[in-house]
Symmetry: D2
Subunit: 351 residues, 4 copies
């Protein structure tokens, strides 16, 4: 019953197999190999556009490199106050961005509304050069609460961002989970809705360690190669990053893996709701959050369930916690088995 | 006949097998797993000392993180002018080190002599705060010329560095190749000789992507965890870095792989010398450099040999190049087969 | 009727005279002169302690250099959300601090309470290395609202900071204004209450451009000379910074200038209160904030009054603004004349 | 007999008087005042072009801000190995430039030749993204050796720089001294010869602390206001920077001050040459370097002469030093009196 994180899993079999199969022989380092070229083409096809991509081993690198590339050091990057880039990357965007400033915004379900973005940005105008300049809006798809932004929401947010000269960055560590939930194409939830640069994650979704920074405007990627290199994120045996992505994207593997994770989350949510523990936020990706008495948390853990207790300021108004309750986060993945879900639901119903 | 680089190889079978074998089940992310603990202990055993280690995916990250941790932004890091950190990392040490300064020193065979170090450092004293302050000496073992520093040389260099308040960093991207050439232990060529921090490489030696920053004084590693994280170099599925290192170090695998590479280099050098093409520098690791007429270079390449032409200001005085000659670099690895070496030698004798 | 800012004034006559008188002859540059030594001693006397001081030309430099020196790049610096360092320095602390993170806290009257500090800091613990580490608490004395922290408040805040391993920085751009309001010595409101480093301002108080970073623990200032130099803040003709400070501190000039500014602010506040426009925050330094109908603002401006309209989220609960009202800031200084105050009050009573 | 530096002087009378005269009344801070506008216009007239200017208090700030604005973090800035930016700014360009790399070039008389520039730059091409990218050429006018670059030399250097996509920066800490030596206009030795950005110095030439970054292409200055602000170099009482520059440029004051300094240097050089101590480099600005026996140095110092001993690797081939000799630097200024020059020459002839 491991619901701790989607990064506690191993490598999806299809991807591991690709590493083994692609190990033979020699290949030029640093991305000058055929597999890397093929991955570039494949990602272009998926997004129906000529893109510039940069593979890196971690999501933090992917986010920070992308943000640093679209924001000057005197820029303000707006994002939800509980976004990974603000709370879990130890200041990586500030480091990569030579001291740029992250501004945390409120919003239920870890989502920023167009109204909030517009109002906040308005406070950052007309005070130059004393104040930093709005440079980017970043949002996580799916969000840290497991909620997703629909195409029209993205379009509205991006319109505000662009109207103020800002770029739009999507933290897609769980991009596949969000995508398969919607009746929309990869293009429709990214550049067609106004996203300028995407951190496209494969690691949580099944890879060993592989993330792609995707620029939808190739010109905007100028000198990203140097930025990546000097950050130590250009792998010498780069083909192994590319092999992961190739297998991930091949034959809809990524969509299949994400759907499984989401189905497991849905099943978990449904079971818990039936047991009187409804999720506090809509379950739209592979994350389920519920409120539990602290005693129940302890019992579940001692029964072998693995998960984290979280805190959040973005709960819906109607959700109330007493001092004896905790918010717990349950993460499913490509590796989650139905039996584990059932066992957990059963236990949760009892405690 | 691929002698382009040791990073054009795939993964050594022992290491790949370990990735496959270690893939089952779940493990806590970010290095909070049992394999990582085991690797920490194992590296401590190898170096006969309680060390602090930080695994990262690239050599550039390993070098830059180490240097930034031992040098303040107003520090000067002295190294050979042709060192990888100066010429091939696109300014990574400067980036990680918030603008520290690298100072390139001359020296035959890409090695810095104690005399040169002492004299250069003397020019950086007594002029504070106008000038940067000597903070570290960094040297590559083996060097970019394939030469190695013997324990007494390291001891002499480190003594000078320490006498001036500097730390000593060893870029050990080819540490194993240097080690197996000497009748000395890992401890004797590192901390016993005065090395403070080592970038211990496994990638060129056979791993997919795995390097360890090794601090011989654990206290000096304080907050390196944060530095690594904010650089995006803390892998979420960290166990796969550890699995690589575990297999690499297990049963002397690393020494065996390095010995093979060195033997191949020796055989290459001997064959070429016999053919009238002696190496320009002593072959002490897995690199062989020879002078060749440009015409011969072209012929070898068209015959399928892969290698790079290099330039160097650190050739021995007696080596002379005419305008029609090139310096070529031949790199062997764990994957080099004797047949390739023989074929190359044979071809080189003819052209 | 210039109440726009204390930086719209010229140079106080005593200070200007010192520049003229000290201009003769030659003096070694970069602070190696006798006047600089004298100022160091004098500041030590004032604070009853052996201090390390660094003179710089701007308050932003003083704050940013101080914060960067007490916080690592992975540090979090806590301060009021409307503090100058967060809103008016265009990211200087982040730049000087290699990407450190500023965390804005709420609080009425631009003051942070011990409770708020303690609670916020508690959210930054136990999540290393994913989250930045609490490194410093910074507060402005007087605050941006013109309120001041009393010795017991500082003591309580500093105790919390120190208990969590944080340093305490005081932004004293209006230090003199705060000091003369209290029955306390410079020592009592700084290091005796737990302040580690002070940005001691003279510019707003009457100098041309002179601020001192004061370290109460000399050891904590190690290498600040290099940090200042590489930031371009070591003046070559440094004696002119020192001459300003010498005159500023001589014969209680600084206290006299500050008292005048405060008296003018008190008179302004009293007159406005009598006219039905009471200050929204206690007037404890040289700043007076009142609510005014927008129409009145326009009338005052057209009558020649100079001041800025501000926005704040730190108004007391009982203060309510309608959509037709503005918060205006009135700043007095050593150069404010009583006639101007009276004229303004008279006008404000009418509009 | 103070020949230590042009920064040991006080303020030129014309400039000091302007500070006194301009002190009355109030003025908006941060450069939003009339004097600043006037200075902008005046500098534009002097350079016969619409320029963007940014006043700052130090030469180091001026140089570092300019370089950071024309070079990305992965850029290489080429300059003479003994340039102030490399040896005397404690890494300021690297700090401001987020880790850019300075590359020191050789050259007699602290001057870089077109040949040297072209050859060095050629080694920095074709190796992206492993190596930093040529981004700027910076040269001091006058140089640290007191030599100057003639218009045709600048044109040749700038042509090479521009051909490689680099910008050209002139460190004009002693711009006036160089200018008045040539039969050329300010425009002819800057933008007409290919200079993109100039650090125009007034401090050494007579100001208290005032330097201007001058962009000859206004578009290239976009966001320099933010860069200056976040570096703490936007003075709040900015009018006092402007007043200095206004007086400096008024009625050819700057040219008169510089001519005096140069004349003093010429007289010093002629006298010393007549006494058998000819300058080692051509005296083209206000610096005179001669070789002296160490015993003579000591005698001169004990007789009250103030100057520094220097070391240089850019002496002309014919100049030879024995181990008992020193290279001494003598700096004249607007404040140097003929009597001092004569006294020094007389003494030097004797010792």
């Amino acid at each position: 019953m491991n619901f701790a994180s989607d990064n506690t899993t191993g490598i999806a079999p299809e991807i591991l197999q690709a590493l083994v199969a692609g190990n033979d022989g020699f290949a030029l380092g640093y991305g000058n190999d055929d597999v890397t070229r093929a991955v570039e083409r494949r990602i272009g096809e998926i997004f129906e556009r000529d893109v510039a991509i940069f593979l890196v081993p971690t999501g933090t690198a992917s986010n920070a490199l992308a943000l640093a590339h679209v924001s000057p050091p005197w820029g303000a990057v707006f994002a939800h106050a509980e976004a990974h880039i603000l709370t879990d990357e130890c200041g990586a965007p500030e480091f990569f961005g030579a001291g740029l400033k992250l501004v945390g915004l409120p919003g239920v379900g870890c989502k920023v509304t167009p109204q909030t973005l517009a109002e906040t940005v308005s406070h950052y105008e007309g005070h130059s050069p004393h104040q930093v300049i709005p440079s980017a809006f970043s949002f996580a798809q799916a969000s840290e609460a497991g909620t997703i932004y629909r195409p029209d929401e993205i379009t509205a947010l991006a319109a505000i961002a662009h109207a103020h000269g800002m770029k739009v960055h999507m933290d897609g560590a769980r991009f596949a989970n969000a995508l398969v939930r919607m009746n929309a194409s990869p293009a429709e939830i990214t550049w067609k809705a106004g996203v300028d640069v995407l951190s496209f994650g494969a690691t949580k979704a099944g890879a060993l360690a592989a993330e792609a920074v995707v620029f939808f405007d190739r010109a905007a990627a100028a000198h990203m190669a140097e930025r990546r290199k000097r950050a130590g994120h250009l792998l010498s045996k780069h083909r192994f990053l590319s092999l992961q992505f190739e297998a991930f994207l091949n034959n809809d593997c990524w969509l299949r893996l994400a759907r499984h994770a989401n189905v497991m989350a849905d099943r978990l949510a449904a079971g818990l709701a039936a047991a009187g523990r409804p999720p506090v936020w809509p379950v739209e990706a592979n994350l389920v959050f519920i409120a539990l008495p602290k005693l129940a948390v302890a019992k579940l853990k001692s029964a072998g369930a693995q998960f984290y207790v979280r805190a959040s300021d973005s709960l819906p108004g109607q959700v109330k916690f007493g001092p004896d309750q905790s918010l717990i986060r349950l993460v499913t993945s490509f590796a989650t088995r139905p039996e584990e879900v059932e066992k957990f639901v059963e236990l949760a119903a009892k405690v």
